[in-house]
């Protein structure tokens, strides 16, 4: 087990380096000139060059990448110009390892941007995960148990509707009607538990999380229904039933446990993806999480932040992948890690 985990972790590190490199290459493959964008409306070519140098974009790609990787290991100090740092210690920002860089657009380190944004995204993702797991699994079981009935068809039909509408549409619909027109809920804005208490925190998360959960929930209903039905058709279930076991233990103790394995995989990966930022939901609700940070850094061609967010997202996906694989062994004893 441990050898397996270490091997997977090592592969994960290599993947993260590759992701960072690809992000660098893609960034510089665009036609945009980030120095020109940063420089302002009316910059001369000479001023753009100065900005380019200040942002480090005048360096060859491999040098920039090397500086970034070195920062991850030993940290960095900003501004990059050593002379400015020595003469103006009050301007210096220390970025300890693993330093993801410095966002000139916001005037702080990428690490601190991510630390500020992560709780929002984690809150959103956790509440949404709970919503879609509870709703998805319960409705999925319901549809499976009442297969072919009005309930089954109704639940499956509703999931199709939820699937049909993109997250963007659902979010705007909720804001326009539930909040503005019908005034059922206040206009959501992220409030930390420390600032507003648990109730306010949850009340403000309700709509964005439900928006996020809805599409996932639709998928989980259909998957749960399919997996449970598949399990219910297995020989060991027939055996259990023929031995006189009641329906509830058969369903929950035997059929559902087998159906859970692929659901855990899905949930782990979906959750990991969300931790990298729920881009559409955060953008529509203006929740200052990693998703909104991604959008803002992309639109302003803020390379250090883009790379930082991509790396964090990749980190979550890789780590949760490993955890999901390991969890198989506990959920399904037939699985052995080697």
């Amino acid at each position: 087990m441990w050898a397996y985990a270490v091997r997977r972790a090592a592969i994960g590190v290599v993947l993260l380096v590759a992701v960072a490199l690809v992000t660098f290459v893609l960034f510089f493959a665009t036609a945009a000139n980030p120095a020109r964008l940063a420089c302002g409306k009316n910059c001369s070519q000479q001023q753009i060059k100065v900005t380019e140098k200040a942002l480090g974009y005048d360096q060859p790609l491999y040098v920039q990448f090397g500086t970034f990787m070195k920062g991850l290991v030993v940290g960095r100090e900003f501004p990059a110009d050593k002379e400015v740092r020595e003469r103006n210690p009050e301007l210096v920002t220390d970025c300890g390892p693993p330093c993801l860089g410095y966002s000139v657009n916001v005037g702080t380190t990428v690490n601190s941007l991510i630390v500020q944004a992560a709780p929002t995204t984690i809150s959103l993702a956790v509440v949404a995960l709970v919503m879609w797991l509870i709703g998805g699994v319960l409705f999925g079981i319901l549809a499976a148990v009442y297969k072919g009935s009005f309930i089954d068809r109704g639940v499956v039909g509703l999931t199709l509707i939820a699937y049909a509408f993109p997250t963007f549409f659902i979010a705007v619909f909720f804001l326009k009607y539930v909040v503005i027109k019908w005034e059922i809920l206040p206009y959501p804005g992220y409030v930390t538990i420390a600032d507003g208490g648990v109730f306010t925190w949850f009340e403000n998360l309700l709509l964005p999380s439900f928006t996020l959960a809805l599409v996932f929930m639709a998928g989980y209903v259909r998957m749960t229904r399919a997996f449970v039905l598949e399990s219910l058709g297995e020989d060991y279930i027939r055996t259990a039933k023929s031995k006189g076991l009641r329906t509830r233990p058969v369903l929950f103790k035997h059929a559902l446990r087998a159906a859970l394995t692929p659901l855990v995989t899905m949930a782990g990966l979906d959750f990991a993806t969300l931790l990298g930022g729920a881009i559409i939901t955060e953008s529509v609700f203006a929740y200052p999480g990693l998703g909104l940070l991604t959008v803002q850094s992309s639109s302003s061609f803020d390379l250090p932040t883009i790379v930082g967010v991509v790396l964090v997202a990749a980190f979550f996906v890789i780590v949760l992948n490993i955890l999901v694989d390991i969890s198989y062994a506990f959920i399904d004893p037939r699985v052995r890690l080697g």
Partner: protein, 575 residues
């Protein structure tokens, strides 16, 4: 302008839309831009619903038009400022007068009033103005703000206060000097700057900045106010905004509140929602006029899809001024070398139908020049003389025949993609196709301005937008058409058509050397005529703004000084 700046600045400005650049604006006439309820109401909380984040709240970095005009009223007083009207005449703010010039406009002096203070209680001194001016030169650290002072002090080899040697700093301190009583600042420019007070009023590149408060990049969102309000907590949140409360150190007797800032609300609550949908939702809220939104204004324009809802009592809370921004088409001089072909494009342009496609009278006004009407600049005869603006295919065909080119003449038309622009550009294509052109539409996305500024791009014509930085065509024509600072081997800069004319450049030089504003304007009118004769641009439209506000907002007005955004210095709320 367009909400994407990202500059932001340039892109923003040009993307047709919203925020950048400075003054200008207005249009529509003052009398049409005021709300019916102008009764002043002191106290209460004004809510500002803002649909985009500011790039910075550091005065030397600010370049968004609405931020410049609002912060000038609320937080950052300048040496001089524009009054809350459409006059474009500066009045003293921190200074005792609007500046004294000598040596033909090369030297400008301003003396600070007594009793003007920072929010920490310390006096605003000449050294603060000197230091604020010096920060602009550190364009490796103070990035993104307007930097015109660099070109007027270009003889200085000055890297800004963070890196300057003693010798460099001494040279700067001589060029931008303080009197012995630390009250009078004198700018010794390399060349005449006839409209310097206009620039100082519009932009914040010569605003004071307290040295001990400066932490370079770390000060990007910190605010040390000298206006009637201060930021609660001292730090602006980029994505959330801030609460502005009264600044106890502000003394109205050092100000002219009736002209510059009434400062009516006790509190101003900036609520930033930087989402793509926020603008439309804000206006939905203002249409609904729920109690919590009755004291709110917004930076977001009403979307064309919401126009049908502006009826009855909602219409009483609606204003539709012309913006400070003009859109135009740019022929590519590396490809369309024959002036007859360019003239044919101008002649065949179905401008009226184009404006209808943009949303009609509420969205735009057809323009006969690239210079915004708020600058009191005449139409360009090359475009105004013909003109019913319906497009004349026959005249265009005759011009193409004169050019001796084969028809249909292929044209690749680049523009910044959006559903509205797709429709509007299709109208242009139809008009030009009728006139003997074969137009291929080429919509582009985020990197638009970087793509069209490349000298070797294959676009024959591109769309662009611009707004003046202060009420002078000097901030329109030279930045856009003087090839010398713009064109290099890799880019044409803001001169998207790579236009480079000795005749035009000579006029620009003359305008730059002019010792007074009227003389300068006259020369720039000739320069614009030259551009028209060369068809260096084809004017399209003046963008219009659409503003809604809550029913308990008082004094809602837009002015040239507010860049046609709500004039926040006049606005109050009913209790």
């Amino acid at each position: 302008m367009k909400l994407r700046r990202t500059f932001a600045a340039t892109a923003a400005a040009a993307l047709g839309a919203t925020i950048l650049a400075a003054c200008g604006g207005g249009g529509g006439g003052t009398d049409t831009n005021s709300s019916g309820d102008t009764e002043s109401a002191k106290g209460g909380t004004l809510t500002v619903l803002q649909h985009f984040p500011f790039e910075s709240t550091d005065p030397q970095r600010i370049y968004y038009g609405v931020e410049l005009s609002w912060f000038r009223r609320l937080l950052y007083r300048g040496l001089v400022a524009f009054p809350m009207d459409d006059s474009n005449e500066v009045v003293p703010d921190l200074a005792t007068d609007t500046g004294t010039s000598s040596e033909g406009g090369k030297v400008w002096s301003f003396t600070l009033k007594d009793g003007v203070k920072w929010e920490d209680g310390s006096d605003i001194t000449c050294e603060d103005v000197q230091y604020g001016t010096s920060r602009v030169f550190a364009n490796d650290l103070i990035i993104g703000g307007p930097n015109y002072t660099l070109s007027y002090l270009s003889s200085l080899d000055y890297p800004g206060p963070y890196k300057a040697t003693a010798k460099q700093q001494a040279a700067f301190d001589k060029a931008v000097s303080c009197s012995s009583d630390n009250k009078t600042i004198t700018f010794h420019f390399d060349k005449p700057w006839a409209d310097f007070p206009l620039a100082a009023a519009s932009l914040m590149m010569t605003d004071p900045y307290k040295k001990s408060f400066d932490q370079g990049d770390k000060s990007k969102f910190k605010v040390l106010s000298n206006g009637p309000y201060k930021v609660e907590g001292g730090t602006w949140s980029k994505n959330k905004g801030a609460t502005l409360v009264r600044n106890d150190e502000y003394d109205p007797s050092t100000d002219e509140p009736d002209k510059l800032r009434l400062a009516l609300p006790d509190t101003i609550d900036y609520q930033i929602d930087p989402s793509d949908t926020a603008g439309e939702l804000f206006n939905d809220r203002l249409i609904a006029n729920a109690p919590a939104d009755q004291t709110a204004i917004t930076t977001a324009r009403v979307a064309p899809s919401q126009f049908p809802k502006i009826t009855g009592s909602v219409e009483d809370r609606y204003q539709n001024p012309e913006s400070p921004y003009n859109d135009y088409l740019v022929p590519n001089f590396n490809r369309l070398k024959d002036v007859n072909v360019r003239q044919a494009l101008a002649a065949a342009l179905p401008l009226n139908d184009y404006v209808k496609a943009l949303g009609g009278d509420r969205s735009a006004t057809a323009s006969e020049t690239i210079v915004n009407p708020a600058l009191d600049f005449p139409d360009n005869p090359a475009f105004a003389d013909d003109a019913d603006n319906d497009g004349d295919p026959d005249a265009a065909k005759a011009l193409l025949e004169k050019a001796g080119v084969q028809t249909p003449y292929p044209i690749k038309l680049g523009y910044s993609k959006s559903p509205t622009m797709d429709k509007a550009m299709a109208v242009i294509k139809e008009g030009w196709d009728k006139a003997g052109f074969d137009v291929t539409l080429a919509p582009l996305t985020d990197t638009y301005y970087d793509v069209i500024s490349k000298p070797d791009d294959d676009y024959d014509v591109t769309w662009a937008g611009w707004g003046a930085d202060w009420p002078s065509a000097m901030t329109v024509l030279p930045p856009l058409f003087d090839g010398r600072p713009n064109i290099s081997s890799t880019t044409c800069g803001n001169d998207y058509g790579c236009y480079d004319s000795d005749a035009f450049n000579k006029l620009v030089d003359q305008a730059a050397e002019a010792t007074d504003v009227d003389e300068q304007k006259s020369i720039l009118e000739d320069a614009d005529k030259q551009l028209g004769e060369d068809v260096a641009y084809i004017p399209l439209e003046i963008t219009k703004f659409n503003w809604l506000y809550g029913s308990k907002v008082t004094g809602f007005t837009t002015t040239a000084a507010s860049s046609s955004y709500p004039e926040i210095g006049l606005i109050g709320v009913q209790q």
